[in-house]
Amino acid sequence: MANHSASHPAHVQHHFVDSDQQFESAKMGMWVFLVNEILFFGGLFCAYIVFRAWYPELFTQAALELNKLWGGVNTIVLIGSSLTVAMAIRSAQKNQIKGLRINLLITIALACVFMVIKYFEYEHKLHLGIAPGSFWNPTPEILEELSHPKANIFFGIYYMMTGVHGLHVLVGIGLMIWLYIRAGKGHFSSEYYTPVEITGLYWHLVDLIWIFLFPLLYLIE
């Protein structure tokens, strides 16, 4: 920092006037990117809505194969991780780097828990032959419950939605590890925590998507 003027500290890239402009730009850029994300998932939600409107009985029937309890637990886990990310940002803003790192760690752990539960859910279904597309091969007992001729489509949508969402969680874990390492190197302070802020925004969006996926997939009576 020594060779920079006070108003142009090291973390400010040359094409910005000051830290504030850089921060606001990064944040706005992230929001624009989240617009992308919403429409990206929007396509899947649209497919969901179209098919649900066509075959309401299919959705009621197929949702029974999903485990409300684990879906609910995962919702809580993800909400918890959103809370810890928000706390991480708060720590950064208050220049508490240790708090920042701890909160990031908890977030990573919660995200992993989410993925592990997801893994067991998938595992269970695949075991019963409730697999996507050409792997669709339910056991006879399951076929009795899933008598609807288009049951495979529900699960096509289910696997796409949760799969793409899961990929986002994995990306989030990667980002959070990167933040954790950088925080350890002392890159962040109350003056500069832009990457933490915008990764946080991303993470909350992943949470937001799940907030809708949960009732739409699991909670159909």
Binding site: A6, S7, V17, D18, S19, D20, F23, E24, K27, M28, W31, V32, L34, V35, I38, L39, G42, G43, F45, C46, I49, V50, A53, W54, P56, K68, G72, T75, I76, I79, G80, S82, L83, V85, A86, M87, R90, Q93, K94, K150, G200, L201, H204, D207, L208, I211, F212, F214, P215, L216, L219, I220, E221
Partner: protein, 104 residues
């Protein structure tokens, strides 16, 4: 620093925990409501109302839109508007087909 350097809003820990708690309660609530077995449109409506409530809490407080420039909120709302346009206009076809194509 320029006089423009408005301070970033720092939420208090209490605020954040409160929001987290609220989300927690709403999650339980949505499961409970779904177990009531409400008749057809109301089950979806109640689930969505709760989901939007949760989404509002996350967007406004965790993501900080409540304190942020209005433009970022506009971006979020804009995305939703275009999503809704996409769905409604598509439904205009799929709900009014003479013969639902998938059945041939």
């Amino acid at each position: 620093m320029s006089e423009h350097n408005h301070e970033h809003h720092v939420a208090t820990a209490k605020q954040l925990w409160l929001i987290g708690g609220g989300l927690f309660v709403l999650t339980i609530l949505t499961v409970v409501v779904s177990n009531l077995g409400l008749p057809s449109p109301f089950d979806i409506i109640s689930a969505l109302v709760i989901a939007f409530g949760k989404a509002y809490l996350v967007a406004a407080f965790f993501m900080g839109l409540y304190w942020d420039t209005k433009f970022n909120s506009l971006l979020l709302i804009g995305a939703l508007v275009f999503f809704i346009l996409m769905v409604t206009v598509t439904l205009l076809d799929t709900m009014y087909r003479q013969d639902v194509v998938p059945s041939f």
